[in-house]
């Protein structure tokens, strides 16, 4: 009975949101100098007012009007944080990954690796079709490229700039553009919860089989939402390019988008690493299947019975 309690059924969600809430609170409250009051009001102002210039209250003096027209409003709301972040956080960014990898190493040491017993490796079941594998590996390749090139500023900090970091930056923008359709396809292909809404032959062909366990579901939705945040903010940062004459109208919006981009990338990176660990490191044999698309039946019986059940249902093998 204990296992079916609300807490046990939802502990992945509870731990995730409690953890994110705690870390987020500490980070936002104590480690950043952004004017959060302005940050929130500005977003609401965009949504309900439709204006991007960041002027929440009309100027009350000609000085303020001139200042807003020439420079844009509320410089101190975002810009000082950007200045701090570019110098201080770049030096600590490596330690975030070290800490995260250390966490997974600890989990590996204590929990070990699940290794299914496969006595009949020839009895294979196709789990991922060619289209799904194509999308998955394209997404993997693009995400690796985006992660590496996304560190162009960190590389630049270490190398003192130059053509390599410049090339990486340009490549990041181009790769991000290519990721837009791939992210969309990946979001559709991995939308296992769609089966709760509709089940037809097309979704069966497109959506990968199985149902989400709570943690994987969280990872999926973070991928979709944070991916959307990255794409929208990245696209805006790139294409909303204020020139000398339009700077005051758009620079505040562009500054805010930088936060959305960095916030989304941090969260997405965490859950992607979590996914890589849980799917490829914590379970033996998953990696090969992602290439061939096929898994031994016994592997699925022990590791992913829901996938096997759905595939068998599809073939009408289950009575």
């Amino acid at each position: 009975m204990e296992n079916s309690s609300f807490f046990n059924r939802n502990k992945a969600y509870i731990y995730t949101f409690a953890g994110l809430g705690l870390v987020g609170f500490i980070f936002l409250e104590f480690l950043m100098v952004v004017d959060w009051n302005y940050f929130i009001k500005y977003k609401l102002h965009i949504l309900f007012g439709g204006s991007l210039d960041g002027i929440l209250v009309p100027a009350t003096s000609s000085y303020e009007a001139m200042s807003n027209a020439a420079f844009g409003p509320n410089y101190e709301a975002f810009a000082p944080e950007i200045i701090r972040a570019s110098n201080e956080r770049q030096l600590y960014i490596w330690w975030v990954f070290v800490a995260e990898i250390a966490l997974f190493c600890g989990m590996y040491l204590f929990q070990g690796r699940r290794a299914p017993v496969v006595k009949n490796p020839n009895d294979q079941v196709e789990v991922f079709n060619l289209f799904q594998r194509g999308v998955i590996w394209l997404n993997v390749a693009i995400m690796i490229t985006l992660i590496i090139t996304g560190f162009n500023i960190t590389w630049g900090l270490r190398s003192g700039g130059g053509e390599l970091a410049f090339l990486l930056r340009g490549m990041h923008e181009m790769t991000g553009l290519i990721w837009i359709p791939v992210w969309m396809l990946m979001s559709i292909v991995a939308f296992k919860d769609s089966k709760m809404l509709f089940r037809n032959s097309l979704t069966r062909k497109i959506v990968i089989p199985g149902t989400y366990k709570p943690m994987k579901r969280i990872i999926y939705y973070f991928f979709v939402i944070m991916g959307a945040g990255l794409i929208v903010s990245g696209f805006i940062i790139w294409f909303l390019h204020p020139d000398a004459y339009t700077n005051a109208q758009f620079i505040q919006f562009k500054r805010m988008m930088l936060y959305v981009h960095f916030g989304s990338s941090v969260l997405l990176m965490f859950f992607i690493m979590d996914f890589v660990y849980s799917a490829l490191v914590a379970v033996k044999g998953n990696y090969k299947g992602l290439i061939s698309g096929k898994y031994p039946r016994e592997h699925l019986e022990q590791i992913a019975p829901d996938v096997l059940k759905e595939l068998d249902e599809k073939k009408g093998k289950v009575a």
Partner: protein
């Protein structure tokens, strides 16, 4: 111990004199062969068309003493001369745009000359003082434009200002000119004693 007091070069635009002719913008673009889409200088006007309330100001890099662009640049491409002019090294610049996020004046400009409009190296006002390349060399001109400072000349924008609204020079001297204009009514150019 040195007590040498260096000049601190600054621009000042007297908004009561600026007539939004954009002569400074054109002069700058022409002198430095600034590419299309990049403006090192701009003129901002508010209350346009409202008689008595319309004011314009010519703006470029303000060559801040504590320049945010220099603080934020991850590759340290900015350097500040002893006379206060903020310059940058395009060979180091990676075009990340952080200086644009940090600058209160929108001075850093990026040519969209990469593939699919990706940003190029940052470009901004040099106060006609060139860059780190050899003074008055072809390389310096191609990357940064003219080095009029090295020739003892006033920056192109200020030299072309028809109403003498745009002043440039050591901040003390600029302040003296503004003070003179404010107190010597009826003698030469006279303006109000206050700014915005």
């Amino acid at each position: 111990m040195s007590n040498v007091e260096y000049a601190r070069m600054k621009f000042y635009c007297d908004e009561t004199l600026c007539i939004d002719c954009n002569g400074c913008v054109v002069a700058c673009k022409e002198a430095h062969e600034v590419p299309v889409g990049v403006n090192r200088r701009k003129v901002v006007t508010i209350n346009e068309g409202i008689v008595g309330k319309e004011v314009s100001v010519s703006m470029a890099c303000m060559h801040c003493t504590d320049a945010p662009c220099q603080q934020v640049c991850p590759v340290d491409c900015f350097y500040i001369r002893t006379d206060g002019i903020v310059l940058h090294d395009k060979d180091k610049c990676i075009g990340c745009g952080y200086c644009l996020f940090a600058c209160p004046f929108g001075a850093p400009q990026f040519p969209k000359d990469g593939a699919f409009g990706t940003k190029g190296k940052m470009d901004k006002c040099t106060m006609c003082a060139g860059g780190p390349e050899e003074t008055n060399s072809k390389e310096e001109f191609e990357k940064y434009g003219q080095n009029r400072m090295a020739e003892g000349k006033v920056p192109m924008c200020a030299s072309m200002c028809s109403t003498k609204a745009l002043l440039v020079g050591d901040s003390h001297e600029v302040a003296l000119i503004k003070t003179y204009r404010s107190v010597k009514k009826g003698q030469g150019i006279s303006t109000d004693s206050y700014g915005w």
